[in-house]
Subunit: 195 residues, 2 copies
DNA sequence: TCTCTATGAATGAACG
DNA sequence: CGTTCATTCATAGAGA
């Protein structure tokens, strides 16, 4: 990336660290998703028995399933870490208005999440608990107009436009949204291209 | 694995309805994710990397100032650094016997500290948490100066052992995979575009 | 400059 | 539920 404006002692228009960080995160999620997408594609298009609990990319932190069944020492890599996908789903559900995670609902969510990585009910429960607790503990400390070149206030406009209809409960709801990205472009260019 | 089209003895190179369906599914998921990605971006881009997304507090980040005589860089967000004054106060309070400062107390302390530099209660909270955790870990080990490294080394070793099963344990591994997706393209087209 | 350490911050899990 | 503990990640600053 040429960056261009490298003239001078101070370059202002290249990415800031912050943006870089954000970008990284996005790419991370994007990459993870794409990986799963590919897996899904392979599974489905070859009509393989799509066994439950496909764990392609998202959650490799569990060293359980794998090489030696006899020597599964369940290394103490405790502490479940939600995958990007799982996080998205969880947040969606959280904002779904149902601020109260019903005990039965937990299981449903768990089931859904387990499609993207290993999860237990307890994890989901904890997550919601923490989430709520955390939300409440927000500091009334007013920001002193730090304005780190905050890009847009558009967030307010489009914010959570997806959360109202209870979308992520099952895939049926998101199967055919009004997509109109440059799909062909993407397909042709990168995702589906084999390397 | 290509054939096997069961409905109809027709095996061609064009897409079958089934495949079409699959593709649609994939695209749908992809689209949904991208939508959330944008939301995530909006959340993140306004402030620090709060991976959980919603933190409207806009808790401004700032840089330590005051004590350090020469260099104060206002542009570096991230990581509050307590001034020496603040440190003294904090330590005093810490030793005051109140091993666990109550949440309300935190605010008082924050107020007090803010007289000597910018602080947020979150910072104070974290400080006490870390302080206590740190003390506790040093105690049980009669480490005589050199042992510290040993322990750390062991820990480090154990930590670094992840990634064997495909490696998605932490973001580090998926932040920049060998992606070939035209990132710049995407950026230019949508995510980072201001509107 | 590069590395290593100290420590602020994030968060899953647990306690009352 | 609210609060606290434990573990881990990331980064600023010191040292080589």
């Amino acid at each position: 990336m040429d960056g261009g404006s490298q003239n001078g002692a101070y370059d202002g228009r290249v990415m800031t660290e912050e943006q870089m960080e954000i970008l990284s995160k996005q790419i991370a999620i994007y990459a993870a998703i794409c990986g799963q997408l590919v897996s899904l594609h392979e599974s489905l298009s070859s009509k393989l028995p799509l066994s439950s609990g496909v764990d392609p990319t998202g959650g490799g932190y569990f060293d359980s399933m794998g090489a030696s069944p006899s020597t599964y020492k369940i290394s103490h890599r405790h502490r479940w870490t939600p995958t990007s996908m799982q996080l998205q789903i969880l947040e969606s559900i959280y904002e779904e208005g149902s601020g109260t995670p019903k005990p039965q609902r937990i299981e449903e969510i768990t089931l859904e999440l387990s499609q993207h990585g290993q999860v237990m009910d307890k994890n989901v429960y904890n997550w919601f608990q923490n989430r709520r607790a955390r939300s409440k503990r927000k500091q009334p400390q007013a920001m002193t107009t730090t304005t780190v070149q905050t890009v847009d206030a558009v967030a307010a406009t489009e914010e959570r436009s997806y959360g109202d209809s209870g979308g992520f409960e099952s895939y049926d709801h998101i199967l055919f949204p009004s997509t109109d990205f440059g799909i062909e472009h993407l397909l042709d260019g990168g995702i589906f291209r084999e390397r």
